[in-house]
Amino acid sequence: MSDKKQYDVVIVGSGIAGAIIAKTLTHAGKSVLILEAGLEQGMDLDPTGAAANYQNYLNTYYTNPIKVPNSPYPNLKVAPSADVIDIKADTPYDTGYLVQKGPVPFASDNFRGPGGTTLHWLGTTLRMLPNDFKMKSKYGVAVDWPFEYETMKRFYEMAEFEIGVSGNVGEQVLPNVDKDFFGSKYVFPMEKIPQSYMDGVIMRNTDNLKVKLNGSEYKIRCTSTPQGRNSDPNIKYKRKGVKWDKREGALKMYNGGERYEYQPVPSVFDPYQGERCEGNASCVPICPVQAKYNALKTIKSAESKNLTIYVQSVVSKVKLDKTKKHITGIEYKRYTRPDKSEYTEHTIEGEIYVLAGSAIENAKMLLASGAANSSDQVGRNLMDHMVMLTWGLTPEKVYPYRGPGSTTNIPTFRDGVFRKDHTAWISPLDNWGWAWPTGAPATTLSDCLAKGQFGKHLRASIHENMTRQFLLHFECEQTPDPNNRVTIDEKYKDILGNYRPVISYNITDYVRKAFEASMTVSKQIFEASGIKDETKYNPTDPDCVEYNGVFYKFNGAGHIVGTHRMGSSPKDSVVDPDMRCWDHKNLFLAGCGNMPTLGTSNPTLTMAALAFKSAEAILKQLES
């Protein structure tokens, strides 16, 4: 069966990448179709329907005893999501959605459903640093991007507008960055999110602390973290939107008038909810009031008369013409029951196609189609941040389990000559106690119960412990490795007959050495604050890896990056600097898969900036 209707652009996926492109193009008057694998009710943007569906997510979260990023959301047999609860220590295994060949299991998840993974992201929105774009020429490792930081600057500003970033520009003192990084007059749309009480206590002893690492001395800095959650509008911020300037062939930001004040974007279900963070402290996995940005907000603000959305439509392939140079359509399977293998098959046509299914799914769709792979880079260079966690008890009460997940970070090791030797990292201070590494406070309780405690005594012990739990992250940059890759295999398919991703994955010594280095730094920070180190890694746990005879456990960050890298040559990259496939002029790829390297910033702001960059290129191409 073939749907007759034609669209200027057909986009696969309604996550932030697809949503930004859809919004930008529909506002420029282009007709856009989004194909979305997830359930219809998740895409209901009418207030009543959206509220009912979101309440459903929330109740699922409340009653789910395992509180991981995907807990609130439906995991569909017809379009499964990668889930961290499926991760096992011993590879290979194929018991989850991802087929994990190992030797180390890939440690991150995503959400396949309307709005995508931003429904459960944390919302940290850091820009990459200038040196992150030139790792090869500066430090002799990984690859350079096909352009420098300067090229990204105006797109970063668009992304910060669209996501609605709260932060303080002046406080962003970053390594090897000058004042032009933001520009002297730049401000974020909203004031910074207040740093936590705990941040203040830790900063007292840590800010300006001198630490020693491999023969060098570094001064630790603590910085407030810019983030995609609503606070108070910054009255100096005058940007009002992004527009396509046809004459100049460029996207431009435009300002409101003298009296204009930026309006925080509320929840999609109630205009009076979510205009400001309320401290629910559950940003991952779900912000009850949607004060945190999610991609449904962008979809809702697209030009609706130019936007069509097909839900419950799972794309399996792009179709190529005889020359293999042109995409002629997208094949998808439409289902009515998410647990049944029944579907109807369709093909849809457009001028230009965009795959925005996230890094792993994009690679899978391309491999299944035999598309875009003359460089043999599709699926390769899969990356993530390796999050090594260290935790301890503070001497005074710091009252964690309050506020957004993280409000302060240590940027000191985000850049430096040490990158020749080991990977860089960022250290967010975590506001949610030991929840991530130990499952506290449930385990705080079970530990006390195991000692026979009950009643007032139990209460007092838990109070003493819970109010002193401190957790520090070391989010280490993974560099591209062609052997870390997504492939497909006839043996592994889901119930609709679509491929499941097969993942081969390992951690190089360049990264492992950073675990050793960051542990050295952690010890010095803990000592300076009198924190009693309680960090314990169990060598038989998943993702516990050895370096110099010591085991370090890392977690995935959810930053799935690098499977269809951008570059300056078709020989060693999949897409050009506009994220157009070198092999097919009318196929664009969106999402973190395009990123040649990862840097130490959470990748979504950069990816959102890239989405604006390719939206501009798509508009140019449509109008040429």
Binding site: L58, N59, Y61, Y62, T63, N64, P65, K67, P194, Q195, S196, Y197, G200, S231, R276, C277, E278, G279, N280, A281, S282, I286, P288, V289, K397, Y399, P400, Y401, R402, G403, P404, T407, N431, W432, G433, P441, A442, T444, L445, S446, L449, G452, F454, G455, K456, H457, L458, R459, A460, I462, H463, M466, T467
Partner: protein, 145 residues
């Protein structure tokens, strides 16, 4: 014993086990839910002897200290009553109930309210993540402010 009397006893037991007083526990609105939940999830004979043991504790001990000592001796040991005391504490603290052991263990949160009323969050001077939000900027000061 009639259910209404047992419910009273359940409240008293819960107070001793959790360290919260009976009024505070009723204030969570979970008392009856948990009472019936425990009834439904526990073998009749075990439950009867659990209540009987507690009645004994309350009959023969007057001060809080004496009650605590008796509970520590006869109720808390793991082998007593299939670990029921710990299960009741966990239900009040986390809103969770685990059936079975080891590989076969399965944990339930009976209702969204059970999670939201978890006492552990009060003990940590905070709130259950995702509910009872304390308001913008509340995290920037101590919870006593």
């Amino acid at each position: 014993m009639r259910n209404t009397e047992r419910l009273k006893l359940f409240a008293k037991i819960s107070a001793v086990l959790t360290g919260f007083n009976v009024m505070e526990l009723w204030g969570t609105s979970m008392m009856e839910t948990y009472f019936y939940w425990v009834n439904a999830q526990t073998k009749g004979a075990e439950l009867d002897s659990f209540y009987a043991e507690f009645e004994k504790v309350f009959t023969y001990n007057v001060t809080d200290e004496a009650i605590d000592r008796a509970v520590a001796d006869s109720i808390m040991p793991k082998e007593s009553f299939g670990g029921l005391a710990n299960a009741i504490i966990t239900l009040w603290y986390l809103g969770q109930w685990t059936c079975g052991e080891g590989e076969k263990a399965k944990t339930y949160i009976p209702t969204p309210e059970a999670y939201q009323q978890g006492l552990i969050w009060l003990i940590g001077q905070t709130h259950p993540p995702g509910a009872k939000q304390p308001g913008y900027g509340s995290w920037a000061t101590t919870p006593d402010k």
